[in-house]
């Protein structure tokens, strides 16, 4: 419940505050007011609660003080009542003490008179003694023995007799005293018998003393009124008012009101008082103060409040006025600064005592400087823009909704203002231009296109970019655009495209590099040559193409190129897969239009095939030289040995010629097979063909097709030559019927120590006589072949014909897979 109430109060409170805030804002916004008004309102806003609070507290304090006085009135009245009752009690006690006198019991009235006079000598009281007939027996007011009348107030004495209790009278005129007095009467019993009435006559001044015993301020007035409403005693002007009746209204208020009451005193002034009835005498005891005394604190509070109001209004207004002037002056200065800034002046405001104003003027000063700088920059930019527009082939234009030119940046085009494309362009160029602009106006989308026209016989192209312009309502109201004359660019792009096509289609690797050697372009031939794709090399250093052992080469080349030189060299480069290829490189600088070197261009041609051919040629040349020299050495050795067995020059010439011829035949075979070797059947044919007839029928050879290594070709060729020479001189070829069979075979492939077996056997020649001495030929036949080919030779001389067995390792002889089982014949099948 409590939360609900809080929330409700908060909700409505917020609504009220917001409504007040809105209304206040609308009030202040509707009519601007000076700062001092706001400050005064601010001061009032601050002072008003304080004033209200002060009024509240002052009122509270006055009420408290009034309540306190009123309580004091009640207290005083109560205390006086108690004092009066005590005074009457004291009188009764005094009477009862006197009543016990021996003299009185003995009816010794003279002694009793003296005792009573003596006991009351310092008081305004007198003692009377009445008998039951109400006759005064003695009265201390007069000397004893003076004739005395009956009592003036019989009803009180009768009430004493009747009640046998002490009684107190109202104010009455004493029969002896002849003045207003009051009497306190008690019964006197002598031996248990009522005999007398002892009376104490009290003069009212005695009671006035009691009233003044409270020592109240002089504003206080206390009074005693008897049961008949007669004033018995009064603290102020007692003599004037004693015995006078209390006004009816005052008496009625005293009787009716309980506690404090307001009334008009007997003196006719407004009072505030309190009345209590004496329990002993039944009198009314009143304590009063003037109403003005009670209300003085209220009056003082209101006076103070008025002073506060005046002080707050005067002080707040003054302070508001002072602060308004204090704040308004810097603001006025800032306003002046702002006005000057608005007028385009450069401002530099001075500081004021107000930080906020300083901040404002500082901001204005900064804004002034920034504005100045921006103005200068804008001026520069406009100047540059103007220069650019004038210097470049750029035209800026604006057109209205009907495509009429409103403004054209180039002065020469001023004449087109107010015209449309249809009015200024050749007919064939109008439609694309009109559609282009209409599309911008229709769609509101920026358009960009090349537009061409032939003007003054020259075909020209503009790159036009146009976008819509809008009115303040956001509707398209025209076109703004830029037209750049790109005639030269398009021509250059055409040429560039041709060059690019050439670069793309050439077989030369062409690299464009930065001056730092970073690859920027990479044509397809380069991809093919090096294996790197364009994406793999763009942005990387060209050093990735350099083998490690040539790492420094590229920087040397680039350093030369950066000085403007063109470098041509043949070198080695590395492909993606790590292969090294020989390339011919032409490295040249690329330049911009001003001739500045802006990059490096490398054109590389793969010369690996050429290098391989060159290397092969070089190898062949070295091999040729080696073999030639070796052959010459062999020839020299053969010549030396032939000389040793020749008796004449003719004989030397004959033998040497044949051996050279045989050697040459073997060399021919080797050359035919690139020095790798020769087929055995071809070797036999080449060595023996000079010794046999045209059909070769006297040589019968048979064996598989075997390819001999070059080393075996030369040595077996020499041996066959010497065997044939010997046969032609002494053996089967020396007559008309003899023939020679040559057979050969290879051990099976899986055989251990596989060998080639060759058998030379002569048939039907003259009977053979074994020679007794060796010569050059036998040395070759029997010694050289076996030694040179790590084989074995067996030469036999049976009478039927020479037999020559040769075995050499199979590594000197290879069979062709397709010809392995096929025998061949060297010279002829039959003689």
């Amino acid at each position: 419940m409590r939360h609900y109430l809080v929330a409700t109060v908060r909700f409505y409170g917020t609504q009220v505050i917001n409504r007040w805030r809105k209304s206040a804002a609308s009030v202040f916004a509707s009519r601007p007011r000076p700062l001092r008004v706001y400050l005064i309102l601010f001061a009032l806003g601050l002072a008003l609660p304080l004033l209200l609070l002060s009024a509240f507290f002052l009122s509270q304090m006055a009420s408290l003080e009034r309540d306190q006085i009123e309580r004091r009135v009640s207290q005083v009245a109560e205390a006086l009542t108690w004092d009066i009752d005590r005074e009457l009690d004291r009188a009764i006690v005094t009477l009862e003490t006197l009543a016990t006198s021996e003299a009185l019991a003995n009816a010794d009235f003279g002694t009793f008179h003296a005792q009573a006079t003596r006991a009351l000598r310092r008081t305004n009281t007198q003692i009377l003694l009445l008998d039951l007939s109400l006759q005064q027996l003695l009265n201390t007011r007069v000397p004893f023995g003076t004739a005395l009348p009956t009592t003036a107030l019989a009803e009180v004495a009768l009430r004493v007799i009747g009640t046998k209790e002490p009684q107190i009278s109202d104010l009455f005129i004493g029969a002896v005293a002849k003045e207003p007095v009051i009497a306190v009467e008690i019964p006197v019993f002598i031996r248990q018998e009522l005999r007398y009435i002892l009376v104490m006559s009290i003069d009212p001044p005695q009671l006035v003393d009691v009233l003044k015993g409270q020592r109240l301020d002089r504003q206080w007035i206390t009074a005693i009124t008897d049961r008949k409403g007669i004033i018995v005693a009064r603290s102020d002007r007692h003599a004037e008012f004693v015995g006078k009746p209390v006004p009816e209204n005052l008496l009625a208020s005293s009787l009716v009101e309980r506690g404090v009451f307001r009334a008009v005193s007997v003196a006719g002034e407004p009072i505030v008082g309190a009345t209590l009835r004496s329990a002993r005498a039944g009198w009314l005891v009143s304590a009063t103060v003037p109403a003005s005394y009670v209300d003085a604190s209220h009056l003082l509070g209101w006076r103070l409040f008025y002073v506060l109001i005046v002080t707050a209004l005067a002080g707040g207004g003054s302070l508001a006025y002072i602060f308004a002037r204090f704040i308004a002056q810097p603001l006025t200065a800032a306003t002046v600064v702002a006005k000057r800034l608005g007028e385009g002046h450069h401002v530099n405001a001075e500081d004021s005592p107000l930080i906020e104003a300083n901040t404002l003027t500082k901001a204005l000063t900064d804004a002034s400087q920034a504005l100045s700088q921006r103005s200068e920059a804008l001026s520069d930019a406009l100047a540059r823009f103007d220069i650019a527009l004038r210097g470049a082939d750029i035209t800026v234009f604006t057109q209205d909704l009907h495509r009429r030119y409103l403004w054209v940046s180039k002065g020469a085009w001023d004449r087109v203002v107010g015209l449309r494309e249809e009015d200024i362009l050749p007919s064939e160029a109008q439609r694309p231009a009109v559609e282009f602009k209409e599309k911008v106006l229709r769609t509101g989308v920026v358009q960009e296109a090349d537009l061409s026209a032939t003007i003054d016989g020259e075909h020209r192209t503009w790159r036009v970019r146009a976008e819509p312009t809008y009115d303040p309502m956001g509707a398209i109201d025209g076109v703004i655009g830029v037209a750049v004359d790109v005639t030269k660019v398009r021509r250059a792009e055409g040429a560039m495209a041709q060059l690019a096509a050439i670069v793309a289609s050439t077989g030369e690797a062409i690299l464009g590099k930065s001056l730092e050697g970073i690859i920027e372009t990479w044509n397809p031939a380069a991809e093919h040559m090096f294996g790197f794709t364009t994406d793999e090399v763009i942005g990387r250093s060209a050093a990735i193409l350099i083998p490690d052992h040539r790492a420094s080469e590229i920087e040397d080349i680039h350093a030369q190129v950066r000085t403007g030189q063109t470098v041509s060299l043949e070198t080695v480069r590395r492909t993606k897969d790590g292969r090294e290829i020989h390339v011919a490189i032409n490295v040249a600088p690329t330049r911009d239009e001003a001739g500045n070197i802006t990059g490096i261009c490398s054109v590389m041609h793969d010369i690996s095939d050429r290098k391989r051919r060159e290397d092969h040629t070089s190898f062949l040349m070295r091999e040729l030289a080696h073999r030639s020299k070796n052959l010459l050495a062999v020839v020299k050795g053969m010549a030396t040995q032939t000389v040793r067995q020749s008796q004449t020059v003719e004989e030397f010439q004959l033998h040497f010629d044949r051996r050279i011829h045989g050697l040459a035949n073997s060399q021919d075979l080797l050359v035919r097979q690139n020095w790798k070797g020769a087929y055995l059947d071809e070797l036999i044919r080449a060595q023996l063909e000079v010794f046999v007839d045209a059909d070769g029928s006297r040589i019968r050879s048979k064996g598989p097709r075997v390819f001999l290594e070059s080393e075996a070709v030369q040595n077996i060729g020499l041996a066959l030559h010497e065997l044939a020479t010997n046969a032609s001189k002494y053996g089967a070829l020396s007559n008309a019927a003899g023939f020679i069979s040559i057979s050969w075979r290879l051990d099976p492939k899986m055989a251990k120590d596989r060998r080639l077996h060759l058998v030379w056997q002569e048939h039907d020649g003259p009977p053979v006589i074994a020679p007794t001495r060796g010569g050059f030929g036998r040395m070759v036949i029997e010694l050289m072949v076996g030694q040179a080919l790590r084989g074995s030779v067996q030469l036999e001389f049976p009478s039927t014909g020479v037999v020559w067995h040769l075995q050499i390792p199979a590594r000197y002889a290879q069979t062709m897979p397709s010809e392995e089982s096929e025998d061949v014949q060297a010279v002829g099948s039959e003689v």
Binding site: V634, G637, A639, V643, Q647, F652, E711, G774, L783, L789
Partner: protein
């Protein structure tokens, strides 16, 4: 072995009545410029024990003839690197006339290196190989010289002079 059998053949070959000047073993070689070393080589001859390593039969015979004509003794003719090492170990020649290209897997440089390392016997390379790479390889064996095939008596004596200087 081979050398013994060779002697048999040679002993049966009749002395030549015709020896052309360009084939004469000790004929002066006019084509070679006279050199100090060559002159010194002509003055006196020490007999050296020489191993010939050559797989070309006629070339080996020619070298043998030329060396013997100069008064040296041939301790053997080998045609492979392996044979060369065996003969060098057995005969301990003063020098080896080493062909570079030999029959078999190993070449003459291999053989010369092993013989030099094991027996401290130097070689003279007799070769038709004259390319720089082969020569650089051969230099590792600290040879006494190179004889390019075919060579003359004069060149042979200059090579032998190197042997004499070493000894």
């Amino acid at each position: 072995m081979f050398l013994d059998r060779l002697e048999v053949y040679r002993s049966h070959i009749a002395p030549s009545t015709f020896i052309p000047a360009w084939l004469a073993p000790s004929a002066p070689d006019d084509s070679d410029p006279p050199t100090e070393t060559g002159d010194e080589a002509d003055k006196s001859f020490d007999e050296y024990r020489i191993l010939i390593v050559e797989d070309e039969f006629f070339v080996a015979l020619d070298i043998q003839a030329m060396l013997e004509a100069n008064g040296h003794r041939i301790v053997g003719i080998a045609v492979t690197a392996e044979e060369a090492v065996v003969l060098a170990a057995r005969e301990r020649p003063n020098v080896v006339f080493m062909d570079i290209r030999l029959a078999g897997a190993r070449d003459g440089i291999d053989a010369a290196y092993e013989i030099r390392e094991r027996f401290d016997i130097p070689s003279i390379f007799v070769t038709a190989n004259t390319d720089d790479h082969t020569r650089r390889r051969a230099e590792v064996t600290r040879p006494l010289g190179f004889l390019d095939k075919p060579f003359t008596q004069q060149r042979l004596r200059m090579a032998l002079a190197a042997v004499r200087r070493r000894s």
